[in-house]
Amino acid sequence: MRNNFENNSAMLKSAEPLLDSADSLSGNQDFQTLEQLNYRAKQHKLQRKSREKIEENEHKKVELDLEKEMCFTEISNENELNKFLENNYPNNINAKKISHNYFQRQNELGLSVSVEVIENYIKSQTEDNNELSAEDQIKNYKEELTKQGKSQSEILQLLIAEFEGNESISVWVENWKSYLKLYHLAESKPLAEKTAIFSIINKADFTSETAFSTSLVEISQSADISNETKLEISREFNGANVFSVDDMNYTLKEVKNHKEKIENAISTKSCEKSSLDLEIDTLEDELEKLPLDDPKRKELEAEINQKKEALEQTENEINQLEKEKPKDISFQLREGFSAKLNPDGSRSIKILAKDFAIKLPSNFLPLTTTKNLRAINLSFPYLALKNQNIADYIFSPNLDNNSVPSKSQRDIGHLIISTLGFDDKRILSEENIKQLNKDLSKLTLGVGRGQENLIELEIYDISSQSIDKTRLAEVLKVVREGRDLEDTLVFEKIKNIQTKG
């Protein structure tokens, strides 16, 4: 700062003789020609301007230096801390309390605190306080429900309904939901199975993200639980707990085995039925040949009736098995989306509402997991955008039904998902999909129709008939950052980046 001041002073000094000479010349103006006078006046004006400019620069520099001085990096006393808080956290009582507490403790140890450390500490404490306040909300709500005399099951259901979607306690809510469902399913099972499932629930760590999948593995390995119950649980829950390509393949394999098992049982029962049919025919023939007063007739008639009863039972069993047999090898991956194993061995994600399937790239070759994952996750933004009639503009060329999406289509899906902050290294959860739908709905907040909105947001270029990926990412970033804001405010913000762009 001092150097700058000296430099500027030197510049001013160097300009002074010129100004003096100009002043002295102006005193003798009577003896100058008009041309000379004009020239001097011009020079005079220029020099004044230069002086003003130098002065202005000097002021700016002094101001900058003062500002720098204000932005000290170390806070060594309470006054400096207060000054820092006034500048950076005006009227923020919470920040004041947090930072003073931290500062006093450091002071006791004879340490000054850097601005960076104190800022990070305030940020971290504020985040934690928000999380803990969510827990307090649950605590209070739970106490209120208990006072009302609600049962635990009711309390749990009400808590799930109230706090579903609260990010900070999502682990608890998800576990409460899954275990409550499993608990009710187990209640209808025979005593031995019920006991085995309850014992697995008892061991579960409800604060763990992986608690439920661990319990599902334990159920699948339990010798006390029948295969039918295992399959029922697997079909009921696996969809919701399938987050990787391997999980999906495993579940499809399970469904395939289940289907094959039923088909085998139907085939065995059908053989039994044919054999019974044949036996009944033979016995009836035999009966016809017998004289009416033959004592053997009664025996044969009884045998035929017995066989007919067995036949009826076998037919009922076949009908029951036919009902249980899955029509195809598929399971519900997410609400409205099913994973399917096609007869040719390929796999696809079916978007039920649109009767549209996205085929997954073959996984016979190594390193295809990312390709597979992106093709699966592509189905979620695709449906959201399709519902808003803009999918065909975003994914250009259009996605074809029951075909493998191209790399560029998968990349767009990835761009949307990752820009919105979702983890694209796993299959999106139900919660993620809900948020994704909400986020993407912001693309059509404008007054126009689908394509018009994209043009208005400068995402779609009508002349080249293509989208500007950078622009799309910018818009989605604003959408992500404005999740807590009103739609109108988000749209305003999007428009602002539009004008900046």
Partner: protein, 131 residues
């Protein structure tokens, strides 16, 4: 004399019973923090297994693990300094020390509060307790 003896014994029994009752009431009201396992995850530290360096050392330090959230919050700076020194975190490396101290006072203390919340207020909502 005999009557007096009987009355004295009866009074003694009543007094003991009353004392026992009061004691039980006090113990049921008092929260037993020793039952809480702070080495487990919480809503604040969701993946303790991912902690590294000083944060991991603080999280796993036996002395700190025994403290409840209030005790952690009110721990005198000098004691923290002594315990940090045992973990190789000294004031000579000011920046490292202060980062560790920030973690201790914010994340670690809040983690304990969250563990306590779970144990005292939500654990009973696990379906197993409905059995």
């Amino acid at each position: 004399m005999k009557i007096l003896k009987v009355i004295a014994i009866a009074l003694l029994f009543t007094a003991t019973a009353c004392a026992q009752k009061t004691e039980t009431t006090t113990t049921t009201k008092k929260l037993d923090y020793s039952l809480i396992d702070y080495s487990k995850r919480s809503n604040i530290i969701k993946h303790p297994e991912n902690l590294t360096g000083d944060e991991k050392a603080i999280f796993q330090h036996k002395f700190f693990q025994k403290l409840n959230s209030k005790e952690t919050e009110n721990l005198a700076p000098q004691i923290v300094k002594i315990e940090f020194a045992k973990l190789g975190i000294t004031t000579e490396e000011k920046r490292q020390f202060q980062n560790a101290y920030s973690f201790f006072m914010s994340k670690y203390t809040s983690h304990k509060k969250s563990c306590e919340n779970w144990y005292f207020h939500f654990k009973d909502l696990a379906p197993d307790s409905q059995n």
